[in-house]
């Protein structure tokens, strides 16, 4: 199971390529935003969000490097959950940073701070920095929205939570850009509160991303039933697998959990049958790779959770 299944190898390669593209494009966005942000809180918060958007891409690439590694003596089940662990850590950081930014921007709004966005001289012309900020924000929206759209179908095919959450966050990035632009236009129109208000909205969107990602990552680490990529409900694919297993062994207790992108199924209270069905018979067409393990536990040998 440590090798990437051949059915998803090409998608997996494409996903890695897209994440490298993400690092490159979003890196350029971060540089452009950094040099134009000035004293705008909305720009600063949008810059934070852009820096944070590099984290899922890095998490994916690091775990994509670890996942195919063979199990070792100390890690006999391999490194399938490396991405879940890294993702949980980064999503908790995302949530707290979002809360911190929301607090800072909320305070800025209450104190009535007037942001100064002054002039900048380019090619001998003095122009208002706000125009450059708006141009930078427009640029900051384009790469993530395209990349997010390209990643989403791949994430569904390879059942990758990190990639999926990353694609959702990127697809929603236009809202950050729009909020930032509204903040800058607000400053231009003499509405000092527009900038802090836009920054507050962006911070709230960071908190929302963080909570979504934390819920998604923690369910797997608690051996929860396989979740849908979107939302926190149990995946339909897992429900169908559970039904098929239950039909075959009506007297057994079926439990499913997730390990990385794979589903691990256990049938408790049943001796290992002589003939075990193939994964193709149990899973949906083209999805057999996802059944990572099917195990049987005879009556009386179940783990402690079974008796509760």
């Amino acid at each position: 199971m440590s090798e990437i299944p051949s059915a998803i190898k090409q998608d997996f390669r494409n996903a890695k390529k897209l994440e490298w593209w993400t690092l490159g494009w979003m890196g350029s966005v971060v540089v452009v935003m950094y040099f134009t942000m000035g004293a705008s809180q909305a720009m600063k918060t949008a810059l934070f969000e852009d820096v944070l958007s590099l984290v899922p891409a890095m998490t994916f690439l690091v775990s994509a490097h670890l996942e195919p590694r063979a199990p070792t003596e100390k890690f006999p089940y391999g490194f399938l959950r490396a991405n879940s662990l890294a993702f949980l850590g980064s999503s908790v950081v995302l949530t707290f940073l979002g809360l911190f930014l929301a607090y800072t921007n909320g305070m800025g709004l209450m104190k009535g701070e007037h942001p100064t966005v002054g002039p900048v001289t380019m090619f001998g012309e003095t122009i208002w920095l706000g125009w450059l900020m708006i141009a930078a924000l427009v640029y900051s929206v384009v790469p993530p929205v395209i990349l997010g759209r390209l990643k989403q179908p791949i994430a569904q095919r390879i059942s990758d939570k990190v990639l999926y959450t990353d694609s959702l966050m990127q697809k929603a990035d236009w809202q950050t850009g729009l909020a930032g632009i509204a903040g800058i236009v607000g400053i231009g129109l003499g509405l000092w509160w527009a900038d802090s208000l836009a920054a507050l909205l962006i911070s709230i969107s960071i908190v929302k991303d963080g909570i979504t990602a934390t819920r998604s990552a923690s369910a797997e680490l608690l051996d929860g039933a396989p979740r849908r990529l979107e939302g926190s409900g149990v995946s339909e694919e897992a429900v169908r697998l559970q039904d098929r297993l239950q039909q075959r062994w009506p007297e057994g207790r079926i439990r499913l959990r997730e390990s990385g992108r794979y589903i691990l199924a256990s049938v408790d209270g049943i001796e290992t049958p002589g003939e075990i069905p193939r994964a193709e018979e149990l899973m949906d067409p083209g999805r057999s790779w996802r059944l990572g393990r099917l195990s049987f536990t005879p009556h009386g040998k179940e783990d402690p959770a079974h008796h509760r």
């Binding site: 701070e113 007037h114 942001p115 100064t116 966005v117 002054g118 002039p119 003095t126 208002w128 706000g130 236009v185 400053i187 231009g188 129109l189 003499g190 509405l191 000092w192």
Partner: protein, 150 residues
């Protein structure tokens, strides 16, 4: 994309977008939230604070003359200690301050500094150099002073 919007949203866009564009075009951007430029133009008086000990160099005099010309105003000068003058600027009791101010001074966060006046080489952040200061957030006013500094 607009054609795919519902009737209500379409109407909203057809009203909001042109009026937004009109409001952007009608007024000069950026504007001042505390209305410094409007006040100077309407009253015809520019309340200028000069920090004690600072003498205006040629570039600063030229900048000030252009600002007065563009706003059609006359200066009403008051001199004082930097703490007093800058505190009054922060409160909006003065429109413009002239003095020798270092970029890393704590006042750089409380008020907005213009570019150095009449210096060709970039001055170190810790070095006090001749410059103007305006109230924080008065972006239109700061733009006018900066354009006049060219």
């Amino acid at each position: 994309m607009i054609s795919s919007l519902s009737g209500g949203a379409h109407r909203l866009f057809s009203i909001v977008l042109p009026s937004f564009a009109l409001s952007l075009g009608a007024c000069s951007i950026p504007r001042d939230p505390s209305g410094t430029m409007d006040r100077v133009e309407q009253s015809g008086t520019l309340r200028l604070g000069v920090i004690e000990g600072a003498e205006m160099n040629e570039a600063s005099r030229r900048t000030l003359a252009r600002v007065l010309d563009r706003t059609g105003s006359r200066p009403e000068t008051q001199r004082g200690d930097s703490e007093v003058v800058l505190a009054r600027l922060k409160k909006g009791e003065i429109d413009l301050v002239y003095g020798e101010l270092a970029m890393d001074s704590p006042w750089s966060r409380e008020v907005a500094f213009s570019a150095p006046q009449g210096l060709l080489a970039k001055a170190p952040k810790s070095e006090p150099v001749p410059r103007f200061a305006v109230m924080n957030g008065e972006n239109g006013w700061l733009m006018l002073v900066s354009e006049a500094s060219k």
